[in-house]
Assembly symmetry: C2
């Protein structure tokens, strides 16, 4: 690897530089010495599943994760059946791409529903069907807790501990957890839960973004560039490592400011920041 | 009490109808049969501390809480000394008003600081001086956990469990906790933590507001009118009651839409919603 190459475990989630087409992403990563990418289903579908798999594998890139399946919380069985069907497609896509994990975001409360406990229970029900099916296709599922500010509309799984409570109902080779610094940094139980996740062989993906305020309207696009916020990202990565994580550390920042700039320049900056604050 | 009077334990936090002056607040509450109010230091200071105390007591209103003290997390001793001094003034104000609790919001991370554990430790240090002093003045302190989306800039205490971990280092008569549905609704440990708080005699204030999305920029003014969101407010109030809470249930909604309307009309609506969703 050249002197300027990205650190060995660095992975770029493609949403960080969403202005790049799939070929630009692959070329940009190869040029920067990046060894792994996290992909999203929509751009993969747009470029073509087979074409993406071929392009990425041909460039020697690992696919650290595919985002995302999930949304299991529909109150009606028909809604959950539709979700299961879509997740089976996601599994097939992850298999074709050779993704190391399919990231699952559980889904929020259905419209008009106030029953968090019930919604959390339905996740387990759907996983009971999906997890063995995914394992048969060689795909490992990763439950990602989202920050509690998303509990109502995106993800009723709000802590790594909750994600583990669900994952541990399945074999570790089928279901693990995704630890994203942005979602879990505030949780004082994080060190203990990461150790628990590592001891059980459940860490399937580690992602990093920084926490900055003020949050924008809708809060989805409020993630900060590494080092711009208040998360001790190095301590987070070290916690994951000392819990046994050896895989990629994926940078996933949703930030319109980064999307408006030249992709190669953004990647250089992200890699520099990663060196300074994470590696 | 007249047939139309507010339910017995209903309390109105004055920020819910911040367009009201102090006399309008008192008159409006008396007219609606409201028995208790939660006050804020700024409007109290503006109207005059002694004048407010006289007005409120003369109208026979209880003061369920005074908001707020806290902001204990300054990294430098001088900053913490300033905070302590301000909190001593807040205690004196709470004593003069006969407030049942002084609500404490811990403070966020100091600028450039990434050490959550250290910030949480400093809260205990300052409380070590403040709590006995407040007790000498007949004022009980209530640590309020804020939603984790405020962890960096307002309050490093993010769960009721964390608030209890701090409160329990002091006698129950000195330091308790404040449970606000808006901040803690998402936490699956809430039922257990409320039971723990009640068993220890630590519930000093219960507040309600609903959770609605999308959140506005800055997220502070995103609270929902009771019943407009996804929190099971009745279950929350029942949890607090079955944990032993017998005091007021304070409605605290920061919502520009409510502030733009006629105060008496807003109060009628809040009371109706309280009957429907909380009582």
């Amino acid at each position: 690897m050249s002197a300027g190459a990205a650190p060995a475990r660095f992975s770029l989630n493609q949403e960080t530089i969403r202005q790049w087409s799939m070929p630009e992403l692959v070329d940009g990563c190869v040029a920067a010495g990046v060894g792994a990418v996290g992909l999203w289903r929509d751009p993969v579908r747009e470029f073509g599943l087979r074409e993406t798999a071929k392009l990425v594998a041909g460039a020697g890139l690992r696919v650290s994760s595919l985002c995302r399946g999930g949304f299991f919380t529909a109150a009606d069985p028909a809604g959950r059946a539709t979700a299961l069907e879509d997740n089976r497609r996601a599994v097939a896509e992850a298999a074709e791409l050779g993704a190391e994990a399919l990231v699952l975001v559980s889904g929020g409360l259905p419209e008009g529903d106030r029953d968090l406990v019930g919604a959390r229970r339905r996740i387990v029900d759907v996983l009971g069907e999906l997890a063995p099916w995914a394992a048969d296709h060689g795909v490992r599922l990763g439950i990602e807790p989202l920050h509690p500010m998303f509990a109502s509309d995106r993800c009723v799984v709000s802590t790594l501990g909750q994600a583990l409570d669900i994952a541990e109902q399945f074999p570790a080779q089928q279901v693990g957890v995704v630890a994203d610094s942005y979602h879990v940094w505030w949780d004082e139980r994080l060190p203990a839960d990461l150790r628990r996740a590592g001891a059980g062989g459940r860490i399937v993906s580690v992602q990093v973004a920084d926490w900055v305020t003020p949050l924008p309207a809708g809060v989805l696009l409020g993630r900060g560039q590494l080092g711009d916020g208040c998360i001790d990202l190095r301590a987070f990565r070290e916690l994951a490592d000392s819990a046994g994580h050896r895989g990629p550390v994926e940078v996933e920042i949703f930030h319109p400011g980064l999307w408006a700039r030249d992709g190669a320049e953004v990647l250089r900056e992200v890699i520099d920041r990663y060196r300074e604050h994470v590696a």
